[in-house]
């Protein structure tokens, strides 16, 4: 071990420790889930294009046929409303008045065909019951974008 090599190892070790410390810092302060809102989709929907869409499941809009596994519901952010269709069983935490993020594409027939439904459970974004103000929806969208800390 020459002094030259010692310096090399010291500098290298410091670089690695700093990089890992930065990663752990970043990991603790997590970033958001990205999706577009129903009103953003309604403003500029391109048929056939893939999107990730997030919003609240409109109460009373869910129709599920357990025989054919056809699921229909609508997502809203208070301003826009997008009809969504999906084939499959809804996830556990999926429900009316709760937040959901769906992946899929906008169809020429005028509905969103979801290939994946992600429902998140948190007390923070219960449905803005009886309060259709846009502020309440904005709060819910923000809660939905937040990554659940583990």
């Amino acid at each position: 071990m020459t002094t030259n090599q010692n310096t090399k190892f010291l500098v290298g070790g410091a670089v690695i420790v700093l990089a890992l410390a930065y990663l752990i810092y970043t990991g603790v302060t997590q970033s958001a889930v990205y999706f577009i809102t129903p009103s953003e989709l309604a403003a500029a929907a391109v048929a056939g294009k893939a999107y990730r869409l997030g919003g609240m499941v409109v109460p009373g809009s869910v129709h599920w046929n357990p025989a054919s596994l056809d699921l229909e519901f609508a997502l809203t952010d208070g301003k826009g409303r997008v009809p969504v269709r999906h084939t499959g069983t809804p996830p556990d935490l999926f429900g009316e008045g709760r937040g959901a993020v769906v992946e899929g594409s906008w169809t020429p027939e005028g509905y969103f065909k979801a290939t994946l439904i992600m429902a998140k459970h948190s007390e923070n974004y219960q449905a803005p019951h009886g309060d259709p103000s846009s502020a309440a929806y904005e709060e819910m969208i923000r809660a939905l974008q937040r990554r659940a800390p583990r």
Binding site: I16, A19, L20, Y22, L23, A32, Y34, A50, L116
Partner: protein, 225 residues
């Protein structure tokens, strides 16, 4: 400066050999073409399923072709009995690592560019719009793959069953790189801003810094073995 020059000489040597024979590049090109046909057969004509699986497939192609190329990093030196030439080369041994890494990186990026082009044509991708983001993600991911691959290629060069051992060693290490690049590629292809995958880009950058540092620090040990 001498370090950079040494690394450059080695990379230049490897690239010149490759340019004259085009051995690796040709076979990897056909391999890419073959993979694309296989993907299409395996997934059928269902466009939606294809578009959902696309980022994963793209990286599967990069990884498979990358592993083939990386495994041959030291094939020339080994087969032509030039290994001692590498070992006895004067100066910092890590210059050899950096040179080999640079050569691998250029070759892999070339193959990936062809791969992307074929993907764009076959699966009807809007590559132009996604290109800046895609270049960043692919560059970060490829560096992570090449940094570990070059180090492990030297390590397995003289081990029996190296063709088997090499991918078995590289792939588990690459789990974070793979998850990050697939997720980031997905976001870029969906037209999302890069900010939405900033945490993945940070992870990839940190991974690259760590892999490169370990490679530079331990390469002389690996070369002596």
């Amino acid at each position: 400066m001498r370090f950079v020059r040494r690394a450059w000489i080695l990379a230049w040597k490897d690239l010149t050999i490759e340019w004259r024979a085009k051995e690796t590049l040709n076979s990897l090109f056909f391999f890419a073409l073959l993979l694309i046909f296989l993907f299409q057969f395996a997934l059928g004509p269902d466009r939606e399923r294809l578009s959902a699986a696309l980022p994963g497939l793209l990286w599967l192609g990069f990884i498979l072709s990358g592993l083939l190329g990386l495994g041959r990093t030291f094939a020339g030196e080994r087969d032509n009995d030039c290994w001692d030439g590498l070992r006895l080369a004067p100066g910092e041994k890590s210059a050899i690592y950096v040179g080999k890494l640079a050569g691998n990186l250029l070759l892999m990026l070339a193959v990936e560019a062809i791969f992307l082009l074929l993907f764009g044509v076959f699966f009807d991708l809007d590559l132009v719009a996604a290109l800046p983001g895609l270049a960043l993600v692919v560059g970060l991911g490829t560096l992570g793959l090449a940094a570990v691959g070059t180090l492990f290629a030297a390590m397995t060069a003289h081990v029996r069953a190296r063709e088997l051992l090499f991918p078995v060693l590289v792939l588990p290490v690459e789990v974070p790189v793979l998850l990050g690049t697939v997720k980031a590629t997905e976001a870029v292809l969906l037209g999302e801003p890069l900010g939405s995958v900033a945490h993945w880009l940070k992870l990839l950058a940190v991974a690259n810094v760590i892999y490169l540092t370990i490679g530079v620090l331990t390469f002389d040990v690996v070369l002596d073995g």
